[in-house]
């Protein structure tokens, strides 16, 4: 959660800290796997019975259960599942009868694109709010920004999504309120990263359509994070603005805006960064309900369907994938912090 504290450590010690960190990550992931596995096997309702047409005999159900390994004791099932996972096999989805890994990886790009878009929006919105608040500190502008931040922070993404649907889907319908792309469009894509691939292929018509679908769900996810970034960054910017090196750069002839951007921003951004890492995992967690709200075909939407259909292997695969993403984000943020902090780099 917090940075790797490497100040004054030699390379061997840094290696040790890193290894320790990887070990705890592994323990966390194992814990998630065990909990999900056992929780979903207490789910009432037989998934096999649900997938067979009505009138199927008990024998049919038993045969199919055996096929999915659901007739064995839970611990044995876990052993089988785990040995599969080690070989990259996450089982087969009960509803679609396709490999879980392929299904999940097919939906992952949509969720990643949505999360990254939201993160970028949050950084832009929060950054601009913090910079404007710092530039005009002590004035009415700063007060207005504080109030807006407080509002944005108090209300979660789900409600912002609904508000956005009303504003830009109904009142002034300029964005699409459901789906990832207009279904009638012909898509030439070979990957599932529609947003990036449309840019790469210079198909700006498709790109615009994808953005028009993505805009509202991404903004809904971005608003609370933008408020957090705005608040933290403004606070540390304002502290930085009183430091001697900032004062010195004022005497060099720079305007106030340039002083903020050149001297204060980089040092103020570091403490914000570590906190944004955890917050970004919250944002990714929020995609589950936001994708549902906007009928966006990502992992989260698939996850809710999987729960509704009692598709145990699929649920398991998705939850683990989320856990991998969360812990991965935290690890990346820690590394970024080390790379960006010159004091640690040369420590």
């Amino acid at each position: 959660m917090c940075g790797l504290h490497m100040e004054g450590l030699g390379p061997m010690q840094i290696l040790r800290v890193l290894l320790l960190r990887l070990l705890t990550t592994a323990i966390t992931l194992a814990g998630v796997a065990v909990i999900v596995f056992f929780v979903i096997r207490v789910v009432p309702g037989n998934p096999i019975a649900m997938m067979l047409p009505p009138g199927a005999t008990d024998e049919d159900i038993a045969r199919l259960s055996a096929l999915y390994g659901l007739d064995k004791p839970i611990v044995t099932q876990f052993g089988i599942w785990l040995s599969g996972v080690v070989q990259g096999d996450f089982g087969t989805s009960i509803t679609t009868r396709q490999p879980v890994l392929a299904l999940v990886l097919g939906r992952l790009p949509a969720t990643l694109e949505l999360s990254i878009m939201a993160l970028v929006m949050a950084m832009i919105l929060g950054g601009v709010a913090a910079l404007a608040g710092t530039r005009f500190r002590g004035g009415r502008t700063e007060g207005a920004i504080d109030v807006a931040n407080g509002m944005a922070l108090s209300v979660p993404d789900f409600l912002w999504g609904l508000v956005l649907i009303l504003l830009f889907g109904v009142l002034v319908p300029i964005f699409h309120i459901s789906g990832r792309v207009t279904p009638s469009l012909e898509l030439p894509f070979v990957t599932d990263f529609y947003l990036f691939e449309s840019l790469f292929r210079l198909r700006f018509d498709l790109w615009a359509d994808i953005v028009a679908h993505m805009f509202m769900p991404a903004l809904a996810l971005a608003i609370p994070l933008a408020a957090i970034i705005g608040q933290l960054l403004k606070q540390s910017l304002k502290e930085t603005m009183n430091l001697d090196y900032v004062t010195l750069s004022r005497t060099k002839g720079y305007g106030e805006t340039r002083v903020i951007l050149r001297e204060a921003l980089r040092n103020a951004a570091l403490p914000t960064l570590t906190l944004v890492g955890v917050q970004f995992t919250f944002l990714i967690g929020g995609t589950v309900i936001i994708e549902r709200l906007f009928s966006y075909e990502g992992l989260g939407n698939m996850a809710i369907d999987a729960v509704v259909n009692r598709d145990l292997p699929l649920i398991q695969g998705i939850v683990i994938l989320f856990a991998v993403i969360f812990t991965g984000v935290n690890l990346i943020v820690d590394l970024l912090y080390t790379v960006l902090n010159p004091r640690l780099r040369h420590g």
């Binding site: 959660m1 705890t24 323990i27 966390t28 992931l29 814990g31 998630v32 909990i35 999900v36 929780v39 979903i40 207490v42 789910v43 009432p44 407080g150 509002m151 922070l153 108090s154 209300v155 979660p156 789900f158 409600l159 609904l162 508000v163 649907i165 009303l166 889907g169 109904v170 309120i177 955890v278 995992t281 990714i284 967690g285 929020g286 589950v288 309900i289 549902r292 709200l293 989260g300 996850a303 809710i304 729960v307 509704v308 009692r310 649920i315 998705i318 939850v319 989320f322 856990a323 969360f326 812990t327």
Partner: protein, 288 residues
């Protein structure tokens, strides 16, 4: 003179915080009264359907039906009455789930932060594992396991959100535990648990109260989200989330079915959170 100026600015902040506190407390108080007196003050039966009165707009719009102040949904049920009755479940979930989560989470956090050692190790590891779950998905999964119903929702909220309290209280307890007064209490002959309850707990309490207020707002949202994915309470009980779910489906035909429950939910969540923030300012010794 400089002193006077600083004090002036401070009281300004306090006035603003005070207003915020009163507005949120006012809205929540109103909601409580509405929930308690729902059967008497709701103008209609929230469950009564009338297919001839389906999707009637609110009274100030053209073609409204008198007596249905905020219009009706597609089954002809009165939106205002459903919002008033929906407040019962929302507030029940907020109070019960919030309190239980608070007690369990704060206790674990206090134990981890004060006792340290293996207790802390186990609890911290659990928190890490919990943080790696997507919370909304986890809650949906739990409801699927427990089956729909008020208590399922409450259990799901407790199981998922105890870490919010545990994390913060653990850190606070650790910080307090490192202070001199704790050491001197130990020297004066107070036992470990005595020190924890008499010395540490009172100092962590303001934080816990603030977190509790915030958690109540979160509980209301979780209930709404679960209703939204049709996993909350049986469908014949009016809930805000359920109304929003219906409203989202027919937003182009009858905006009021979405708008009014949404405004209610928005104000309630905002109030809980502003109440928490206002209390935080009150408790903050720098501002006091």
């Amino acid at each position: 003179m400089a002193e006077a100026k600083a004090i002036d600015g401070r009281s300004l902040i306090r006035r603003r915080a005070g207003l915020r506190l009163w507005l949120s407390a006012g809205w929540l108080g109103m909601l409580c009264i509405a929930a308690l007196l729902a059967p008497w003050i709701a103008p209609k039966d929230p469950l009564a359907q009338d297919l001839f009165l389906g999707r009637m707009p609110p009274v100030w719009e053209m073609g409204a039906e008198p007596g249905y102040w905020l219009g009706t949904d597609s089954l002809g049920r009165d939106v205002l009455s459903r919002i008033i009755h929906g407040a019962r479940i929302a507030l029940m979930v907020a109070l019960i789930a919030g309190t239980i989560t608070c007690v369990i989470g704060a206790t674990l956090g206090l134990l981890a932060g004060f006792l340290r050692g293996w207790v802390d190790l186990v609890i911290s590891r659990l928190i890490d594992i919990w943080m790696a779950f997507p919370p909304v998905l986890f809650s949906i999964l739990l409801i699927a396991v427990l089956g729909p119903g008020l208590w399922s929702i409450i259990i799901a909220i407790v199981v998922i959100d105890w870490t919010r309290f545990a994390r913060v209280v653990r850190a606070e307890a650790m910080a307090q535990g490192a202070m001199d007064y704790v050491a001197s209490a130990r020297v004066a002959g107070r036992g470990r648990f005595g020190t924890m309850l008499r010395e540490i707990l009172p100092n962590v309490l303001p934080t816990i109260v603030v977190l509790l207020t915030l958690e109540m707002g979160i509980a209301v949202i979780v209930e709404a989200i679960l209703s939204f994915v049709n996993l909350s309470i049986s469908t014949d009980q009016p809930t805000w989330g359920g109304m929003i779910s219906e409203g989202r489906a027919s937003v182009h035909q009858a905006w009021w079915v979405l708008v009014f429950p949404l405004i209610t939910l928005f104000l309630t969540v905002l109030s809980f959170s502003q109440l928490g923030e206002g209390l935080k300012d009150r408790f903050d010794p720098v501002l006091r």
